[in-house]
């Protein structure tokens, strides 16, 4: 190896390492702080690794806040949203790619517009309507609100996936006398599975991480989803930083673990969502 390639190689790995440290440091700091005993938080200089590490902060915050309840709420709402968005968008994607649609362009443009609506604009009518319907503090209100952005997104990605499934398969099945619904359920859906999985995961993550709708549509502390539950601890009297970081980790860990394992699907959905499926 010549000296110059050694030099570029070193520079390359050094840059990558620095970038990695910078981007992951906040996550490390969350973990590190959450494991500190209370006395250690206000040490200066701060400890980068606590030898007295403990789970006390977790026990303390869980004793005072129903974090597990928040996780369950988030799970119910995100799952509900995913089911609504994926099932409706699969039907749409099938209909859109299997039939000649007269206003195809208008349809696509409509989907894109809805997927780009500022959610802060929609919280006003949602707040008014849900108050009127008495649906504040219900899972239903959150699932409906989240579907407003999840469904267009899912439909958009799935149309791309469904397009890549050859229509000849449908035709062959049709000659064999299969109905449209049979074809959809038994021919196309199984073939679209990778796409469906990617979309489902992405929808779930969008719903899990969403904040503003839940902030407005839930007032009862038992109905908070995890993002609102954690953010609401900020600046609260009696909540120490190590407890806040423990709560943040409880909120972040489930998705970090799931999506690290299934990252391939997630990456697929992200790129497909930005471009064409």
């Amino acid at each position: 190896m010549t000296r110059s390639t050694l030099l570029t190689r070193t520079a390359f790995w050094l840059t990558l390492a620095v970038a990695l440290v910078v981007f992951l440091f906040p996550i490390y700091w969350m973990v590190n702080t959450s494991l500190k005993p209370s006395e250690e938080i206000f040490l200066s200089p701060p400890t980068f690794y606590s030898v007295n590490w403990t789970f006390d902060a977790y026990f303390d915050v869980l004793a005072n806040r129903p974090l597990f309840r928040y996780l369950i709420n988030s799970f119910i709402v995100a799952t509900g949203t995913t089911i609504v968005a994926v099932s409706l968008s699969a039907l749409t994607a099938y209909g859109f790619t299997r039939f000649k649609i007269r206003f195809a362009t208008a349809f696509i443009v409509f989907l894109i517009f809805t997927k780009m609506l500022p959610e802060t604009l929609l919280i006003i009518p949602y707040f008014q309507l849900m108050s009127k319907l008495g649906l504040i503090n219900t899972y239903l209100s959150l699932i409906l609100a989240y579907s407003s952005f999840a469904l267009p997104f899912a439909a958009w990605i799935l149309i791309g996936f469904f397009r890549s499934i050859p229509t000849e398969l449908d035709e062959a099945a049709m000659i064999d006398g299969a109905s449209r619904l049979d074809i959809f359920l038994k021919v196309v859906l199984p073939l679209a599975r990778p796409g469906l999985v990617a979309v489902a995961m992405f929808t779930f993550l969008l719903a899990w991480n969403a904040y503003v709708f839940a902030l407005v549509l839930t007032t009862d502390a038992d109905m908070f989803v995890i993002s609102v539950g954690v953010a609401n601890l900020v600046g609260e009297y009696q909540v120490e930083w190590n407890e806040l970081m423990a709560a943040a980790l409880v909120g972040a860990a489930p998705v970090l673990v799931i999506f690290s394992i299934l990252n391939r699907h997630l990456v697929e959905a992200i790129t497909a969502g930005a471009l064409k499926g």
Binding site: A19, P26, T92, F99, P118, T120, P125, F127, P152, L256
Partner: protein, 311 residues
Amino acid sequence: MNPTNRTAAALPAPRYGRRLKWAQRRAAAAFLAPAFIFLAFVVVFPLGQAFVTSLYRIRGLRSSFVGFDNYVRTVTDEAFWSSLGTSLVFTASCVAAHLAIGLGLALLLNRVTVARTLFRIAFLMPWIIAPAIGATIFLWMLEPQFGVINYLLQSVGAISEPIAWLGRPWSALVSVILVDVWRGVPFMMLLMLAGLQTIPIELYEAARIDGATPLQQFRYITLPNLAYLMIVGTTLDIINTIRHFDIIAVMTGGGPVSATEVLPVLLYNTAFRANRLGEAATIGILLLGIVLAFSIVYIRAMRLDRDGGRD
């Protein structure tokens, strides 16, 4: 082209054509209707309601129709323009940084041959964490007295005494921008990485044989091949950033003295702190206008306005 027409020979004879067409239409409608009816309820109707709300002055339980009065008041209100300015600064800085750093990281990752997936997961993590939760981590790191950022900056001598990052207008804006950069880079990085992987390696080999320097290769091969993705990705990122609410809401709530009050935060504060739903809806409709303008750029860039987005 209707896919079923291509196999017309195998399907019912032409004289049934008309009935077939009707059946086709009914079937198409059956597949498309559920999502559309649903979207009408969860998007179109609320949107209409938002517009109607923007025409009313609402104070508590009293509301009165005022026509476009809220619009006149909003566009003559200095708070709106200052918020728009903040939004533009926030969005422009964030998007520029997302793109530059995202592209840089993508170029690095594209050359990594070992543990690619692991690197990709690591860099994706900031994006996976809920922005509202990520913001709480930074609140702690930016804490003036015990926060690690002040400590690190002081120990390398970059600052002589602790900074109250979120307590002063300029540094608060810089802080929320940095947090959004941390969160938003992975998305751009992924897009750029996807783009880089589609560039044929032969192009680089040929360039190297011709004696092109790495910089020239970047300028004449990488950039032109990525241009499309960069335009689409940037437009999408602008749309996502200008409507972003979570980070700022959690970190500063728009303060201090409105220094970080971007349009979505102004909207929220107007609606739920000042209880002025009519004015808030007006801000929302104006924000929608801005987002729609960029959506049109996105649709044009992707040529979706032709052919329903078909390749």
